[in-house]
Symmetry: C2
DNA sequence: TAGATAAATAAAATCGTTTAAAAATAGTAG
DNA sequence: CTACTATTTTTAAACGATTTTATTTATCTA
C-alpha cells in the first residue's frame, strides 16, 4: 500500500478517474476546470502530499529559471556576501541560483561549468579562479549564446558583460594615501602574477610612485597565492630586504591579515614601522589592532548589478556585452594613520 | 542553419540515419555497438559539441545523485568550511551537492527544502536556522524515508542521524578554564534562547559554576542573535551590571568579536578586566589582539562524518538513525590568559 | 428539436534520454 | 539449404510533467 515512490499526477488522475491533463490544470488553477473537480484534485493532492517533479516540469518547458554561479571560494567574505546579494536579486526576479566553488582551480572551473550547463542553467555568473589562464571554456559559452556575466575576477579576451571596479584607480588612491601620510619606501604584496585585477592594482601602485617621484623597485613587489603560509612568508621576505618598506599595499585583506600577524610576531609595529592599506574591507578589519585600512567595494551593489546585467541578456535576444564599473571607497583606519605625519 | 537549440541525441541519430537508442549506447560506450558506428557517432557528437541533457537523464533514471545542503548562512567560516569538506566527500562518492542558505529564517528553510525536494535531491544535510522551532518540515522528510543528516544546529524531536559535539562538556571545560585562571564572577553571552546547542552550552556553563561553588546569577546570562549590533549591545549591558563579570563565555566567535570590539571602545581591558573564551575557533581568532581563546571542533571531520552517515542511508534501505559525537579542543590564547593568575 | 456555442474533460504529442524487447543481419555448423 | 548463434540495430515504452488537439457533455438559441 505505502509504496515508496512519490505521488505523481497520474496517481491522482487514476484515483479520481480523471485524465492527467485535467489534474495538471486543476493543480495549476487553470480556468476551464470545474470547481468541483478542482476541489477534489486539490484535496487529494494535499492529502497525499503531492510534490510536482521539477525535473519533468523543466524538461517539458525547456526552462529551468536557474542561474549558475561559479566562485573561487565561499570562505572569503567578499564572495559569500556577493552571493547573498545575487541570490536576493535573482529570487526577486523569479530565478533560483546554483553555486559552485572552483577552489581556485582551473580544472574545477571547467568541470563545474560543464555540469551546470548539462543541468540546463540558463545563464552564468562567474568570477574566475586564480589558476585560470585559458579562457576557451568561457568563450564556448558565449559562442553558444548563453548569457554570462563576469564580476571582480575577470580577464581580457572575454566578450561578456562585466561588473568590476577601477582597480588601478583604487590602488592609486590607496598608495597615494600612504604617501601623503609620509611613507617613502613603498612595498606591494600582490596576488598571483596571472590575476588581472592584481596586476591592475599593481599598475595603480606604480602610477602613484611615479606621480610622487618615488623610486619603483621591482624587488619591492611580492606575489602571494592568498594562503596564510605563503602570505606570511612573502611579508617576511619583504621586511627582510636591506631597505624594508615603511608602507605596504596588499591586494586583499586575507593577505593583510597574515602579514600583520607575521609582522607582529617579529615585533614590527604597525603603522609606526610600516603602514598597511589593503583591499576588500572585510568586517574583520575593524576588529584588528591596529584596525586595518582597506578599499571598500559595494558588495550589495555588485550583486544586484551582476544580476541586472544577466537578466538583460536572459530576457532579450542579442544584447551587447556591457561593462559596469563601480566606485570604491578607501576606509582609512589605524593601520595607515601615522601618529607623526612625516610630510605636511 | 545555426538553430539556437542545443544538439540532441535525436539530431545525431537523424543525421547518421541511426536510431536514438543506438546513438545513446554509442555515446555511453556500450559494448554491443559496431566500432564503425560508434566512431561516427562520437565524431559527430564532438563536432557538434553535443551536451547530454541532465534533466532528461535524471528523469528517466529517477536518480539525480545530488545531495541538498541547507545551511543558516555561508558567511560564517564554520559553515562554509564544513561545506567544503562535505563537497569533497560527496564528490569522492560520486554525488554532487546543492547548497541553500536559509539566512537564519524558518520560512526560508521550509521553502528551500521544498525546492530541493521538488528538484529530486536524494538526501539532505541540514543545520537548522536560528528561527526554526517547528520541526514538521524535517519530520515530513523522514516520514517520506528521505535520508537526512543534521549537524551542529540540531534539535530534539528529530529521529535523524546527527553529527554533533558534546556542547555541554565543551562549555563546561571552557568555563572551568576561566575559573582555574582566577575568574570568579562569570558571565555568559549565549545565542538565541531557542537554539538547543546554545542552551546545552549554557548548561555546561552552569555545571562548572556548581562544581566550583560559584554563584549562578540568571542576570549574568545575555542572549545575542549573532548580529554585530545586538552582540555589542548585550556585551555592554553585561558589563554595565552592578557587579560586572571578570570572565565571559561567548557562544560563538562572531559574538566574541563584537564583544571585544565593544569592550575595547569602553576601555575595558581583556583579559585583565575580563577574560573571554568563545566557540568555533575561526582563523580570525589568532589575528586579534589579544588573540581569542576558542573551542575548536574539527571541521574536516564533521563534513566527512556527515557525508558518511548520509551515504549509509542512501545506499542501504532502512538504516537506523545514528549519532556521531565529535570531540572538541579548547584553544587557549591571550584573551583568557591572565597575567597574574589569581588562584594557585 | 435541430444546430450552434460553451464548458469540461480526455487523448495524444512532446521534452531528451534510457532500456527492455523485438527484429534484422551476418556467420557458422550440420 | 536450413537452423541456430551471435552481433548489431530498431522499435516502443517509460520517466512525469505540459500543451495541443479532439471529444464529450451541457446549455442556449431559433
Amino acid at each position: 500500500m505505502t509504496k515508496n515512490t512519490p505521488v505523481t499526477i497520474k496517481d491522482i488522475a487514476h484515483a479520481l478517474n480523471l485524465s492527467a491533463s485535467t489534474v495538471s490544470r486543476a493543480l495549476r488553477g487553470m480556468p476551464e476546470i470545474h470547481p468541483e473537480t478542482r476541489q477534489a484534485v486539490l484535496q487529494l493532492a494535499q492529502e497525499w502530499d503531492y510534490q510536482p517533479n521539477q525535473l519533468a516540469k523543466n524538461l517539458v518547458k525547456s526552462r529551468t529559471r536557474t542561474i549558475g554561479v561559479i566562485l573561487p571560494t565561499l570562505s572569503y567574505y567578499f564572495f559569500s556576501s556577493v552571493l547573498n546579494s545575487i541570490e536576493e536579486a535573482a529570487m526577486q526576479a523569479g530565478y533560483s541560483v546554483v553555486v559552485c566553488q572552483t577552489n581556485e582551480s582551473y580544472l574545477r572551473e571547467v568541470a563545474q561549468i560543464q555540469n551546470l550547463l548539462n543541468s540546463q542553467v540558463e545563464g552564468f555568473i562567474i568570477s574566475l579562479a586564480r589558476d585560470t589562464q585559458d579562457l576557451d571554456h568561457i568563450n564556448r559559452l558565449l559562442r553558444k549564446q548563453i548569457p554570462v556575466v563576469i564580476f571582480d575576477r575577470y580577464a581580457e579576451g572575454i566578450e561578456a558583460s562585466k561588473v568590476i571596479v577601477d582597480n588601478q584607480l583604487a590602488a592609486f588612491k590607496a598608495t597615494e594615501h600612504l604617501i601623503e601620510n609620509g611613507c617613502r619606501r613603498l612595498g606591494c604584496l600582490a596576488g598571483p602574477p596571472n590575476l588581472l585585477i592584481s596586476n591592475q592594482r599593481l599598475e595603480g601602485f606604480k602610477e602613484a610612485l611615479r606621480k610622487y617621484d618615488l623610486p619603483y623597485n621591482e624587488r619591492c613587489v611580492f606575489h602571494s597565492d592568498f594562503t596564510q603560509e605563503n602570505s606570511m612568508m612573502q611579508a617576511l621576505s619583504m621586511m627582510a630586504l636591506p631597505e624594508p618598506p615603511d608602507g605596504i599595499l596588499t591586494m586583499s585583506d586575507r593577505i593583510a591579515f597574515s602579514t600583520m600577524y607575521a609582522l607582529k610576531q617579529k615585533g614590527i609595529r604597525i603603522p609606526d614601522d610600516v603602514a598597511i592599506v589593503s583591499f576588500n574591507n572585510e568586517p574583520t578589519c575593524i576588529y584588528l589592532s591596529p584596525s586595518l585600512s582597506s578599499v571598500n567595494q559595494s558588495i550589495q551593489e555588485m550583486g544586484s548589478q551582476v544580476v541586472r546585467l544577466l537578466l538583460k541578456q536572459l530576457e532579450s535576444e542579442h544584447s551587447v556585452p556591457e561593462t559596469v564599473t563601480l566606485s570604491t571607497q578607501l576606509m582609512v583606519r589605524e593601520s595607515s594613520m601615522l601618529s607623526k605625519k612625516k610630510v605636511s
